[in-house]
Point group: C2
Chain length 406, copies 2
């Protein structure tokens, strides 16, 4: 039996064994929340996926080291400053965030993970953050309000919090998986997140936890592109308290499959929320590429379409401009059978056997004006398929990113 307070809680404090806090400590000048803390008092098994950008935040470097340990007690996060391109001082600052948190919680610095997001190239205001951490530790709570505060504390140019929850039963026990993420800009495969934090109470071995996360991220966060670039800070972390009481999942049987599917579904939910709330985005679209000669070709072609500014503008304008889609596919240099190529917008075939066909323009436009629609391209070159999520490109994207001053 799960307590009602837990069922109504859709935040990262919903799984058993987690406390959270989120507050404003002074990194952001706006007065919005900029410091978040997740604590697993009993210690959590953890896994993570990090950015593959060659230039990484000091937080990423440090968390990559700490994640190797057996037990994680806390994750401390600041928004408003990415602590990237800050040299040795940046590494000291990241370590300081861990050690202050560890000290206040009575654990070791290596039991703490750290993440940062925001402006690149400025030193962290460690003093402010230090005071913030102390306050956060005092305010730790397992309520939905605390989880919500954490979700808010990680945002930058996001306009909404992104949260998702999945409840499953494994071996007769209730298991909860929750996640929160921030997105907005600098989002692209591999690792379309900036930051994503997932908590669960499933009892599962560390290797399988890592494997499930990697698979889930691969099919969700890594399938999302907003502006084609991965940030210096992208991090997805999963923590499990293991308190659900299910027999520990140690093999890739039914239990693992159930857990993995729920996790993947949760991550896709978060990825879609991120796309919807991308800077200036008014709608999102899914590009499905079929008939590719290889899985890689399918992924490359799907991303080429989702990333192409002219397609993104057409989606914004609600215009069934298949010429731009075909152009993007051809430009991506994947193997294709030009004479057999076909394309659909929603359920409307707009291109078949290498040429445009007469189609119901109004119907295609109706699909394009939905909050989400699907563009399907069949390369007619093989049997592989893949997909990618993208969002439209609006004047607002330009305004946000031209007016944002360093």
């Amino acid at each position: 039996m799960v307590a009602m307070s837990k069922v109504n809680n859709k935040t990262i404090t919903s799984p058993q064994g987690f406390l959270a806090a989120g507050l404003h400590c002074g990194v952001k000048h706006s007065g919005q929340k900029d410091l978040g803390l997740i604590v697993c008092p009993g210690g959590a098994k953890a896994a993570a996926v990090f950015t593959t950008n060659r230039i990484v935040s000091a937080a990423v470097t440090l968390s990559k080291r700490h994640i190797k340990g057996r037990s994680i007690s806390a994750v401390v996060v600041n928004s408003g400053n990415a602590n990237a391109c800050t040299g040795k001082s940046g590494r000291d600052d990241a370590l300081k965030m861990c050690s202050i948190t560890a000290e206040k919680l009575g654990v070791r610095p290596r039991n703490v993970l750290v993440a940062s997001t925001g402006i690149i190239g400025e030193r962290l205001p460690v003093k402010k953050i230090g005071s913030g951490i102390k306050k956060a530790v005092k305010g730790l709570c397992d309520s939905a309000v605390a989880g919500q505060a954490f979700a808010e504390s990680i945002l930058t140019t996001d306009t909404k919090v992104k949260q998702a929850v999945r409840r499953i039963r494994i071996s007769g026990r209730n298991i909860t998986i929750t996640g929160t993420a921030k997105g907005a800009g600098m989002i692209a495969p591999q690792m379309a997140t900036t930051l994503c934090f997932i908590t669960t109470d499933a009892a599962i071995s560390k290797p399988l936890l890592g494997r499930a996360l990697k698979t889930a991220v691969g099919g969700s966060l890594n399938k999302l592109t907003v502006d084609g670039h991965q940030s210096t800070n992208d991090t997805a972390i999963i923590l499990t308290s293991g308190l659900a009481g299910n027999p520990v999942i140690r093999k890739t049987g039914t239990g693992y499959r159930k857990f993995g599917e729920a996790l993947a579904d949760l991550c896709l939910d978060l990825a879609r929320q991120m796309a919807m709330d991308a800077e200036g985005a008014t709608r999102i679209f899914k590009v499905v590429v079929k008939g590719a000669a290889s899985k890689k070709d399918a992924a490359v072609a799907a991303r080429a379409v989702a990333d192409y500014n002219l397609v993104k503008c057409a989606v914004y304008g609600g215009d069934a401009n298949w010429g731009r889609i075909i152009c993007a596919v051809g430009s991506s240099a994947v193997k294709l059978n030009a004479a057999k190529l076909s394309c659909k917008i929603g359920a409307v075939t707009v291109y078949r056997n290498g040429r445009g066909v007469k189609f119901d323009v109004q119907k295609a436009k109706r699909f394009m004006r939905e909050p989400e629609h699907t563009i399907t391209v069949n390369l007619a070159a093989g049997r592989y398929s893949d997909f990618c999520y993208g969002c439209d490109l609006s004047e607002e994207y330009v305004r946000i990113n031209a007016q944002y001053h360093t």
Copy 2:
């Protein structure tokens, strides 16, 4: 001695032996010129570089075949319709453009090159174009007015004609090279042009003409990115009448070098004009990458920066946001020494030894607000360098491409 009328003529009719025409025949609904013709009555040696998009216009397919011949008498071009993704009928239409032109000029269809630009996926109005060609042939002239009319006839969303001229002396003879291009959207390496036509009177062998064009395009049109995608129609053609009277250039000696340099310089001039007039662009920038482990790495990193929407928005906003530059470089997956990486905006060092440095923000902004500025990144990983031209991303780009309806 070159006649004064030739010296004052800065259009493609300036080299000896060329006639041109440009007029409105009805492809464009706007009433603007949409049909152009270049004729070399004595027959020209020709070379061309075409799009590497896997989906190509029927015009590209046909011109690729005709360019192999010994002599080209004419190039016929229409704007307003790309004749791409039009299947077999499109191939018939392209051939018809060549055969009507050939018939009126008394040459063979295979002596005629064809190019199209405009909307993808619609059949050409061949009847209108046929009437237009007849009118154009009657109106052929070697005047600057005719050359200007041709330059206008190839435009789509361009706001200006792009023309350039270079005059050199080889073996005591005056040689003229002129070019005109259209750009605006769908511009990216390889082949950043959409369409580019170059005429010259230099006497040069066909293989060396092709080699000089390839080199020139590689260092200019192929170094320009507007929205990261190559169109289905990109074509650069050079024609030489050989009438300058210089001994035919058959070897890669001084004459070839002089010719090649002038041609490369002319192409770079046209590329910069295209970038300046890119859809919605308010300014252009050059990204120079030094210290790369390979030439390819340098090119990839330069393009990653020039293509990155967040950098393009920062340039539009005149903001010295080096974080986005560094992020783009790191995201491009090239070899780099993160601890030694450096970056300059104009003459201002903003990043050194892997971290941001204090710099004169106003001075950096002054560079960024010039019509053209240079961003220099040193990867500190080797001795190779390369560059790429990009333009900023404005609300206007979005408006043009969202409101353009198929």
